[in-house]
């Protein structure tokens, strides 16, 4: 029994605490203050959930409701006069789909390059016996706090000839130092050193160890960093705004800005009356269409978030 309680340190309120001898006389009981605190916390949490969720839910129902009901406030919790006209108009809009296609290309290629460059580098920098790693880490960390800025970047991209092309979305962001530090700390702390010793004795090279042992044990960090990079690419607005002139290369976020904020409603000529009617629905629908991919993916990776964020920030 005593062994079991050493490993499972009793949690208050759980049955385990009764197993400890000195707790037997006085079992854990909730006092009145505890009840009050529990209720206060419950109410606060419920309020937070409503405040976070309701605006999002509002967008969802507004995208399929009668625009008048949305604007005069009769639509509250459920859609009013359900219709998908807004979505039908959105699906006819080529600009949005060009942006969508571009963003998918930039995000997939960009994330691939990110992973291919960041992971081996993070692994190399996690090897303690490799002395140059401290200098390299310093040079990398320095760039987190000191950067050239907008104009030097612009001039550089112009000289490299990547201005107004898809490469400006992919190449400059190849290494994110924050993500690199997360991956490095993971390799340092979560993969037992004995594995490396064993591999070394078996004559395995660093490459072999990285590919065959370190990577297969790092699925958590692969998921977290892959998601971070993908979200960055998907939501990147400034690159398109500053470095891209032609519409054919514009990413989704710039197209969104044009539709949602600059007031260029969805362009499908000859239907202007219909579009004016559904302008509101279209705007809410566009928000859904643009955000849905990330909102569907992230809950599946949620269990890895704690690990990734914790490692990165504490060791960084």
């Amino acid at each position: 029994m005593s062994v079991a309680t050493v490993n499972n340190i009793p949690v208050p309120g759980k049955s385990g605490s009764a197993d400890i001898p000195w707790n037997k006389k006085k079992p854990q009981q909730k006092t009145v203050t505890d009840w009050i605190i529990d209720i206060v916390i419950g109410v606060l949490i419920a309020a937070i959930v409503v405040v976070v969720l309701y605006p999002l839910w509002f967008v969802v129902i507004a995208s399929v409701s009668d625009p008048d009901a949305v604007s005069n406030g009769t639509m509250k919790l459920l859609p009013v006069d359900f219709s998908t006209s807004g979505y039908q108009l959105i699906f006819k809009d080529n600009r949005l789909w060009t942006g969508y296609r571009n963003t998918i290309i930039y995000s997939v290629l960009g994330t691939l390059l990110n992973m291919v460059v960041t992971l081996p580098m993070a692994f190399a920098l996690s090897r303690r016996e490799w002395k140059p790693r401290r200098v390299i880490m310093f040079l990398l960390t320095f760039t987190m706090f000191f950067a050239g800025g907008l104009i030097p970047n612009y001039v550089l991209y112009k000289d490299l000839g990547i201005l107004n092309s898809m490469w400006v979305f992919i190449l400059p962001s190849a290494v994110n130092v924050y993500n690199l530090i997360i991956a490095r700390s993971f390799f340092e702390s979560s993969i037992p050193e004995s594995l490396f010793e064993a591999a070394k004795i078996d004559g395995m090279s660093y490459f072999g160890y990285f590919i065959k042992i370190a990577l297969p044990l790092s699925s958590a960090i692969l998921a977290v960093i892959g998601l971070y990079y993908f979200v960055y690419h998907w939501n990147d607005y400034m690159t398109g705004l500053v470095y891209i002139q032609s519409d054919q290369f514009q990413p989704l976020q710039v197209v969104l800005q044009k539709i949602l904020l600059a007031g260029n409603t969805v362009a499908a000529e000859n239907q202007s009356a219909e579009i004016a009617n559904y302008a509101g629905q279209i705007k809410y629908g566009v928000i859904i269409v643009a955000s849905l991919p990330l909102l569907i993916v992230y809950p599946f990776l949620q269990k890895y978030f704690n690990k990734g964020v914790m490692i990165g920030a504490v060791k960084g």
């Binding site: 460059v117 081996p120 104009i151 970047n153 594995l195 078996d202 490459f207 400034m238 976020q253 928000i287």
Partner: protein, 338 residues
């Protein structure tokens, strides 16, 4: 965890054991004779180093090349701030003009307004963006039911994955006077066009978007608390609030300090995207900040050197703040990032 490790080690050893039998002397390479290497010449040390570590160098070089080109070359280009920009010379710039552009910025009539706005927005965001996640994490940590807790976390993470463009669009739609979800409440007052409301819209939407996500790190820190500590405090007669005050808060304090230092390094980096998207001619007196001004001077009116100078000015102030925060924290609490 430990048994799993042992298993995988053993599996690997048994699978890879053949090569060792084939050339039994292989193990002699592994012995790292540190003492002997001390007396080697530099050339021999270098050649030993590269023979030993060329794999690691090869793995690092692509990333280093990207960082060198896309982070350090622009830093080299900062000299534009002290020179006249000519399209022919590119990053190195033309005639040296010293601090001309810094003086131009500091003495410009907009300087006070831009700096004031930047500091105002930055401090509001820093403060609320720092406190709100801590409160949320402490609240979530008090929840006993793990399933509900995890559900609440999933909900609060959600806004983090929404882009800034969508966030600003939602704010705009909601605050449209008369017809928006919140705009109706304020009647004819157009908050979107009000300079006084700008900073509050900015930080409230910021807290809505990032509070849940930023709380992760505190939750992770809180989950590392030894449950025995709670037990001990309870036996000493501590109530729930005292547990939070004397166990939870001291646990997350180092994390708080580190995050605060990191944020100090970006104190004047008011996000370009959000400010730029929320700007309109009406709220401009409160919404023009350094980053949007850098964009307008550089990309809209093409004054490259002037824009670079303003950007560098911003970076240097940020760097000073970072160093100050880091130094103070090292003295006071032994926590620092450098």
């Amino acid at each position: 965890m430990s048994t799993q490790t042992v298993n995988s080690t053993m599996r690997m050893t048994s699978k890879e054991s053949k090569p060792i039998e084939a050339n039994g002397t292989k193990t002699s390479q592994v012995v790292d004779n540190f003492e002997a290497r001390k007396h080697w010449s530099i050339g021999r040390k270098l050649s030993w180093h590269f023979r030993q570590y060329w794999h690691l160098w090869l793995m690092t070089i692509p990333g280093m090349a990207f960082v060198a080109i896309f982070a350090y070359v622009p830093m080299y280009g900062l000299q534009l701030a002290f020179k006249e920009f000519t399209p022919k010379k590119g990053l190195t710039g033309g005639k040296f003009v010293g601090l001309k552009y810094f003086e131009k910025f500091v003495t410009s009539p907009l300087f006070g307004e831009i700096m004031g706005n930047t500091v105002n927005i930055a401090l509001w965001t820093l403060l609320t963006g720092f406190i709100a996640p801590i409160i949320l994490a402490l609240l979530l940590n008090q929840m006993q039911n793990q399933k509900i807790k995890s559900f609440v976390q999933t909900i609060t993470y959600m806004p983090h994955f929404i882009s800034i463009v969508v966030l600003v669009s939602m704010v705009t739609l909601f605050l449209t006077p008369g017809t928006g979800l919140l705009g109706r409440v304020f009647g004819a007052n157009n908050l979107l066009a009000s300079p006084d409301a700008f900073v509050h819209i900015y930080w409230i939407s910021g807290v809505w978007q990032s509070c849940g996500w930023s709380a992760i790190i505190y939750l992770a820190a809180l989950s590392s608390v030894d449950p025995g500590l709670y037990e001990a405090a309870k036996i000493d007669g501590a109530n729930r609030l005292q547990l939070i005050r004397h166990v939870d808060i001291p646990t997350i304090l180092p994390t708080c300090v580190i995050l605060l230092i990191m944020n100090m390094g970006h104190v004047l980096n008011v996000g370009f995207d959000k400010t730029f998207l929320m700007q309109n001619t009406m709220n401009m007196p409160a919404s023009e900040v350094i980053s949007t001004y850098v964009y307008k001077v550089g990309m809209v009116s093409n004054q490259f050197s002037y824009s670079t100078a303003i950007g560098l000015f911003n970076t240097i102030i940020n760097f000073i703040f970072l160093m100050l925060a880091n130094g103070i924290s090292r003295r006071v609490s032994d926590t620092s990032i450098f």
